[in-house]
């Protein structure tokens, strides 16, 4: 195999495997309408049918095709994971970087706000938000954003403070560069690696947290094909219909594995200090 791709595959086999999984995930999500034999909410089939030729992953307690729901679930999980993390982490990162650099009252004020938000138990925050807003996929995203933003702000602020300590920032300031310019030209690029790592690890975290919210009744509406919701409903019939639990569980695990392995590799590659071994 040639060039960079070959080096990547040989140097980061786990990362390559992760990348493959993520690509498959994205493809399934995009092509769901073509791949799925039935609609995600389509009932009318017999209930609790074991995997068979007609229903390769069986049917669930209301008579829906599990295969179709798992495929459509890729779209939902990716949508929820991506949107909530991109918004949440980006919002938090910008907030943390800017206030960390600007310092002063803006910084200490926003740190208090972050403290307040982080001190609240996340599951209660999510539960109350969903109860107040009503259960819908977009409200789940909103709840996840509110959960992810403070931590991202805290983390990226620490990274930004580390970057600010470097002499080239001082030099740029002395040369008369505006704050905005410094943020855009110097801070953001140097915080990028941490930002990317945070995004990749948090996507899988968001998918798993949504599942837990479904368990306590605060996740996506139960008729939506969310993998977590399917798991939460499936454990009621663990022995009778293990396929209801096996396939969504497999899907979630694969997605998390893929995303995290890929994220790890990206971090290993982009952080120059980490190349090479210990001994």
């Amino acid at each position: 195999m040639t060039g960079a791709l070959g080096r990547f595959l040989r140097g980061q086999p786990l990362g390559a495997a992760g990348a493959v999984v993520v690509v498959v995930l994205i493809l399934v999500a995009l092509l769901a309408p073509l791949l799925a034999p039935h609609g995600p909410k389509e009932t009318g089939f017999a209930t609790y049918v074991a995997p068979s030729r007609e229903f390769p992953m069986g049917t669930d307690q209301v008579g829906r095709d599990v295969l179709s729901r798992v495929i459509w679930g890729a779209r939902l999980s990716l949508y929820v994971g991506l949107v909530s993390v991109v918004f949440g982490v980006t919002l938090g990162a910008l907030w943390g970087v800017v206030t960390g650099y600007v310092g002063g009252a803006a910084d200490s004020g926003s740190q208090r706000v972050v403290d307040c938000l982080m001190a609240l138990p996340p599951i209660i925050l999510a539960l109350s938000l969903m109860a107040a807003l009503g259960q819908s996929v977009n409200n789940v995203i909103l709840a996840l954003v509110i959960l992810l933003t403070p931590t991202a702000a805290r983390t990226l602020r620490a990274v930004a403070l580390g970057v600010v300590a470097h002499p080239f920032i001082e030099a740029a300031e002395a040369a008369g560069a505006s704050r905005a310019r410094i943020i855009v030209r110097h801070l953001v690029p140097n915080c990028m690696a941490s930002y990317i790592v945070l995004v990749t690890t948090n996507i899988s975290y968001a998918i798993v947290v949504e599942a837990s919210l479904s368990f306590i009744g605060a996740g996506a509406p139960p008729d939506e094909p969310s993998w977590g919701g399917m798991l939460a409903q499936g454990i009621q019939a663990l022995e009778t219909a293990p396929w209801m639990v096996f396939f969504p569980g497999l899907a979630i695990s694969l997605a998390v594995f893929g995303l995290n392995l890929l994220g790890d590799s990206i971090r290993d590659l982009t952080d120059p200090r980490l190349r090479g071994g210990l001994g």
Binding site: T43, G44, Q135, P222, D223, I235, T240
Partner: protein
């Protein structure tokens, strides 16, 4: 027991009829053995009661937690759950006009703290329950319309004066919610919420309440029926959630499942595979599966739309799929439970909305919808997140789609959902079960069909329904009463535009350990939880 002879005969006939139809299907009769004393019975509560005031509360968990502690004036016979027998009252009589009931109380009964029991306790309890400012959603709600006053004639006699001759009075007084509490306990604590206030005259004493964990009773050594109870004690684990409850059953940690929610067929099958030392049976839980339409706002303020929903709902499919076949579809009254007060099921099966195949009804329903909403319409379909309500909601939505009503599901939290329903914050409630408090034909109408009933969430008012219900309630002649209820059921089935739609009576699967003897489930989910005559064989 001194009563008018005719009344006695009628009661006996009713009891016999009920007996014949009720005998719990599948539960094997116990061989004649001598009861063995000793042992602790284990079962579970599906939630934490929090407060323990049996007069003021309504959830089943509260009643379960305190059942064996108290006695009532009357009770349903633990050996024969359809029969009413005395508890604290050893004899009772009614006046010829049926408006005064006199109860003669047992002598020598003591409270669990040693204080003597007297009619003053009965008066104090019922004065409290009947007080118009006191919120008593179970006993109070059923007695207040009927009872005018309670008087203690002497230390061992109590008199109830009714507003009219009410057939449901005795069954209501025998209800597990109408228990007698101690005057001195009420005076000391103000209410019965605290564990310390659980002082009764029942077969068991309140031993321990570990919140979120377990409730324990121990035998009352000075119970007024000598020899009872057989058990040393009763333990209820507080188990929230199906998987945990089923795991406890499979691991032999609980000896019976006599609670709400009942087991589903899949769970019953799993249990049957895991344990061979249990009897698994199907039984009614005196509960109705309702669909509610909001008659106060569009689209269901329009009778045509209500009629359309009534026609398209496939009750048989709902019972078959969401109740896994454990239920009686279409019936407004269940013959298994109230005998011949219920319309015969073959007549019910011919009513519009119930008859199969549904092609004609579905076509008519579609026509009605298209008349007002040619392109169909979108509605929100509400359910509370409890049990398998969400699954039922899916099925209802699928059925409504056949006539152009496109539903999106809106889920509510288990507790707060009631607030939304009570306030009328909904368009359709896809499913809401309602348990009867007393096994009496009047129950379901007062609960969901009359204009003022609290569970008539759709707030639909039909004066004819109110009139018929009132007439049936006050009818003293049993045959005339039966005919009144038949007329009422036929009216509702024929008119088919009420905002409360009865999908069917709910049944479920239960189990009991084979070693458990003389356990007979009550006719409602609330009755016969005292275990006073239950024993454990070797």
């Amino acid at each position: 027991m001194t009563m008018g002879f005719r009344r006695l005969a009628r009661l006996a006939a009713l009891a016999a009829a009920l007996l014949a139809t009720i005998a719990v299907p599948g539960l094997p009769a116990d061989a004649q053995e001598k009861p063995r004393t000793g042992g602790i019975l284990t079962w579970f509560d599906y939630g934490d009661p929090g407060r323990l005031d049996v007069h003021a509360e309504s959830p089943l968990v509260v009643q379960q937690a305190t059942a064996g502690i108290y006695s009532g004036l009357l009770q349903y016979d633990p050996d024969e759950p359809s029969k009413i027998i005395g508890d604290l009252a050893e004899r009772w009589a009614s006046s010829p006009d049926g408006k005064t009931y006199t109860f003669h109380l047992r002598k020598g009964v003591k409270w669990h703290d040693g204080q003597p029991f007297s009619s003053a306790d009965v008066k104090a309890s019922f004065d409290r329950i009947l007080n118009p400012d006191f919120k008593s959603p179970k006993c109070g709600a059923s007695l207040k319309p009927m009872v005018a006053s309670v008087e203690a004639v002497d230390a061992n006699t109590v008199e109830f004066r009714l507003k009219f001759a009410a057939a449901p009075f005795l069954p209501s007084i025998a209800s597990a919610w109408c228990r007698v509490a101690a005057k001195h306990v009420l005076a000391k604590y103000g209410d019965l919420n605290a564990p310390e206030a659980q002082i009764g005259t029942g077969p068991f004493k309140f031993k321990k309440y570990e919140r979120g964990s377990v409730i324990e009773w121990e035998r009352n050594p000075s119970y007024f029926v000598p020899g009872l109870p057989y058990l040393d004690g009763v333990k209820q684990y507080i188990l929230v959630g199906g998987p945990t409850q089923l795991a406890a059953a499979k691991a032999s940690k609980i000896m019976l499942w006599d609670a709400w929610p009942p087991m589903r067929k899949t769970q019953a099958d799993e249990l049957g595979r895991a344990r061979t030392d249990v009897d698994i049976y199907q039984a009614p839980i005196n509960t109705v599966f309702f669909i509610y339409l909001n008659a106060k706002k569009p689209p269901f303020d329009n009778p045509d739309m209500r009629r359309a929903v009534n026609l398209v709902i496939d009750r048989q499919e709902l019972v078959a799929k969401s109740l896994e076949g454990a239920g009686v579809p279409c019936a407004i009254l269940d013959p298994k439970l109230v005998g011949d007060f219920a319309l015969p099921l073959d007549e019910v099966a011919k009513a519009p909305g119930c008859r199969q195949p549904k092609d004609a009804d579905v076509a008519e329903a579609k026509r009605l919808v298209e008349k007002h909403y040619p392109g169909g319409l979108d509605v929100e379909v509400a359910v509370r997140q409890v049990g398998n309500y969400v699954d039922r909601g899916q099925l209802v939505i699928a059925q409504l789609r056949k006539i152009g009503i496109r539903g999106t599901m809106k889920t509510h939290e288990s507790a707060a959902g009631y607030a939304a329903f009570g306030k009328g914050d909904f368009t359709i409630i896809a499913t809401q079960d309602r348990a009867m408090d007393v096994n009496e034909p009047s129950g379901v109408f007062h609960i969901s069909y009359t204009s003022q009933s609290g569970s008539n969430y759709g707030q639909y008012s039909d004066p004819k329904v109110d009139e018929l219900t009132e007439r049936a309630l006050k009818e003293t002649n049993r045959d005339k009463r039966r005919l009144a209820y038949w007329e009422l059921q036929r009216y509702l089935l024929a008119k088919g535009d009420h905002a409360s739609i009865a999908v069917g009576w709910v049944e479920g699967w239960f189990f009991k350990d084979k070693k458990l003897r003389n356990y007979k489930p009550g006719l409602t989910t609330y009755d016969n939880n005292t275990f006073m005559k239950v024993w454990i064989a070797q």
